[in-house]
Amino acid sequence: MVDSGADVATRSLPLSGVHGGSAAVRLEVAAPAGRISLRVRNEDVSALSAALGVDLPVKPKTSAFANGRTALWLGPDEWLVIDEGNSGLTTAAANSGALHSATDVSHRNTAILVEGPGAVATINVGCPQDLSLKAFPVGACTRTIFGKVEIVLLRTAEDAFRVEVWRSFSDYAFGLLSQGALDAGQ
């Protein structure tokens, strides 16, 4: 990062320094990531997929990963695209030449990684989703509810999930996950 003087605001990450988890579940704050909320009409999905370098999934509750980017189906014309690296997502989308709406929500969301044999029990403390591997296999994702806040849930492995949550709700989400992790660890 360029040192441009003291008058530049320093970015403060939500959830910095928090701790939680138990013997059965590890809770970890995910690294900052680029994110866009993407709306695309049916006929333009392939153009946006090509521009972003990841195929936007059209099947409900599924995600796709390619080139460091994850595209999560949220609704029939809505996706959350997460870029682990230097983002450039809005520019890439703009280069598609197709009509779309891409809103940068990189700083709106933060993510909590929930991992371990008690991960399902931890999330189900506040989430009504059926998280059996049959109903919610690896790669499945959905917008849903966790306690009293909305989250986007992505299963990254059999016993690992990424919980995307709005940053102002992240204290609450982390607190409830911590409680769930303790309960799941018993």
């Binding site: 409900p60 509750k61 949220l74 609704g75 029939p76 809505e78 009504p128 989703q129 959905t142 917008r143 849903t144 509810i145 909305e150």
Partner: protein, 113 residues
């Protein structure tokens, strides 16, 4: 917990993810400036409030975000069927309840409107 079938997610989901959004199949008048106050009140304020089979809009707000239509029995709270927004009013399959046999406010108390 009540499970509601979302026609866009194509599966049953918890009621916690949904919001009720009023009576379905209410068409906005073509030329709303031309209608009388009574007609406007009828369109804007007055609802059937049926006891039994009723057609409602619901929104999968904490899921796919979509509005859809549902046929619901207000006595048993059962969702009889759900279908995508924009489709015409659907016939409810074999349930025992039908618009004819349903006891409405109008049938028992006269037309409130």
């Amino acid at each position: 917990m009540l499970l509601i079938h979302c026609p866009y997610c194509e599966e049953d989901r918890s009621e916690l993810e949904f919001r009720w959004a009023g009576e379905a199949h209410i068409a906005r008048p073509e030329n709303i400036a031309a209608i009388s106050d009574e007609e406007f009140a009828e369109f804007f304020f007055l609802r059937n409030n049926e006891k039994g089979l009723t057609y409602e809009r619901w929104r999968h707000i904490h899921g796919c975000g979509r509005f859809f239509n549902a046929a619901r029995d207000t006595v048993s709270d059962r969702f009889l069927m759900t279908y995508k927004a924009g489709l015409p009013k659907q016939q409810v399959p074999e349930t025992g309840a039908s618009e004819k046999t349903v006891e409405t406010y109008e049938a028992t108390e006269g037309d409130a409107r």
